[in-house]
Symmetry: C2
Subunit: 327 residues, 2 copies
DNA sequence: GCGTATTCAGAAATCGATTGCAAGTTTTAT
DNA sequence: ATAAAACTTGCAATCGATTTCTGAATACGC
């Protein structure tokens, strides 16, 4: 492999000069620049990433900490973030926490070890102290959605209160005295609680009855279980507002198994707008979260804060109702 | 941060000695070992990953090249591989190629740049030359499934011919003169073609009629489209054998939209055993691929070949039929 | 023409490890 | 007791960049 040294030797200058020219830093004579650039091009020289990382104490990786990949919301998000990061010359360091504090700690450490430029955090098990620790290691952070944190760093979140509100309104429609349940994520999960707050507001406004929350962990099996257990004894309800699509899909299946028709007997709405909901039977109504747009914002925010040393911002995305067949 | 130098100074020995002790390499006096270890523990010293990578020209990353994350087969696989890699102290460098040759090239380069220890390859756009190039850069490779390559490196694959065979047999059952179509992945996709071969064998044995292949790209939308277009004009078929679960789910939805009952009019089987198929309406019969076991094998094979310099092996996994409601 | 400001470019330290070589010390064999 | 073998350990080079400091060369003002 060609190294900086080789280029320097061939151009008859020092490595310092070559480095400066390549990075467009500081000064250099016009003809020196031309000569060096020519040789760089001829040799197809590319700086060694690892050496660069070591000496700058910063890599071109962005850490992405998520609880799992089974939930299509996350897998789709990872894809979008990867794309957005790529456009700015960054790669993804995937950290799959499985909602396990030990794995979270492991990954926080390896993020620092690898001098990642920034970290995108989505985990129930990351504390404000963790974010501070990352900051102390020169790592910018941004939390996305589904976190329960109040912190001074960057954040992108959908307006979940509003999302829960429009979801519940869609399920209720013009009807009166509707009996509803809220299919929630893990207890203490902030975004889920926000949606629940919006749901409660809609319930109140519409003179409906809230039969409480069912708790799941965002995956399809947990949604199925929670609904099946709840409906098994014949409890009559009119609608289910779910905290995500996967659990809603599980809920549909549970209704089917218990001979409740969707949407005739029970109307159901999901949250996230993942591709599986678009082709389920019946097609799932849901709330869209603009994953693509959020991803661009996330990456740009990280770069903005890190490179230009500007202060962190909070972003709020407006959720959007997508009506399909389950409501 | 504590560095090797600090430890060396505190222990009153050279960095060389500390390095040797930490890595269990070569020789060291028993009391020196004890002393150094004590100080290492006291200071909570952890070697700098990047420096180590630079000097050893090998990192603790394993590259994972996949076409996308939308297909749950991949997202579930990524999760399993990540888990398996972690157990051996490796992390994942996620390379999402989007089946785009340019992105593949980009990632092959960055793999080398980052001195990844090994690469797990699943892409239609990687050539044998690419694998050779990786080898020349000291990167062990293993291809998984869905590749069209004959190469001398490691590989894990399900016996897709057999998988296609048992899938088709399940759809056909004991019936005669069945009219079937095969819902395929992209043309030239080896594993899909293998399954097709197995399918053809079963068709022949059972005296059934093959109406040909429909092509998709493994995502749910493409499965829906392909089936919808094919069935729209009233063509009568008895069964669909799909190359993956996502497309099968799309196919179910297409049948529903065209008033064909599943499994009464048309029986459908998927492939991969992803979680969405377990809760669809009707529940999807499928072929299981042992993602977890494969993931362990993949990581262990990479380590075996790389660290112990042993020759590459090929692994064949036997597929397993999972009967649910669509057949 | 001379002092000063500005450019340009190199030497050398640094980032934080690993490792080949050689020297010094201890063991073992005879 | 002594030569040879086997351990321990340190020096210094290396991995491949970045960056501070400094000196030389050039430009500029008057």
């Amino acid at each position: 492999m060609t190294t900086l040294k080789d280029i320097a030797r061939l151009a008859g200058v020092s490595t310092a000069t070559v480095s400066r020219i390549i990075n467009g830093k500081g000064e250099a004579g016009l003809d020196t620049i031309r000569k060096v650039n020519k040789i760089v091009a001829e040799m197809g020289y590319k700086p060694n990433t690892v050496a660069k990382t070591l000496s700058r104490r910063e890599s071109s990786l962005i850490a992405l900490l998520i609880p799992n990949l089974n939930n299509p919301f996350f897998s789709e998000l990872v894809g979008e973030i990867e794309r957005a990061a790529n456009q700015h010359g960054f790669q993804i360091y995937l950290c799959n926490s499985e909602d396990d504090r030990e794995k979270v700690e492991y990954y926080l450490e390896t993020m620092a070890d690898n001098y990642v430029m920034g970290a995108i955090i989505n985990s129930l098990f990351v504390t404000v102290e963790d974010l501070r620790w990352l900051e102390s290691r020169g790592i910018s952070t941004i939390t996305i959605d589904r976190t329960q944190l109040a912190h001074p760093y960057s954040a992108v979140a959908v307006d979940h209160v509003h999302g829960g509100y429009i979801a519940a309104k869609e399920v209720i429609g013009e009807r009166h005295h509707q009996r509803l349940v809220f299919l929630s994520g893990p207890a203490n999960e902030k975004s889920s609680e926000d949606r629940y707050a919006g749901y409660l507001k809609a319930v109140k406004e519409a003179d409906a009855v809230n039969l409480g929350q069912l708790f799941g962990n965002f995956d399809i099996t947990s949604g199925y279980q929670a609904c099946y257990d709840f409906l098994q004894d014949g409890t009559i309800i009119d609608g289910i507002v779910s905290s995500n699509d996967a659990m809603a899909l599980g809920a549909i299946r549970a209704c089917q198994d218990l001979q409740r028709q969707v949407p005739k007997d029970i109307r159901i709405i999901g949250y996230d707008n993942t591709s599986y909901g678009a082709y389920s039977i019946p097609r799932l109504s849901t709330i869209n979260q603009f994953k693509k747009k959020s991803s661009d914002i996330i990456i740009e925010e990280l770069i903005r804060v890190h490179q230009h040393n500007q202060k962190a911002k909070k972003y709020q995305m407006e959720p959007e109702l997508i009506t399909r067949e389950t409501t």
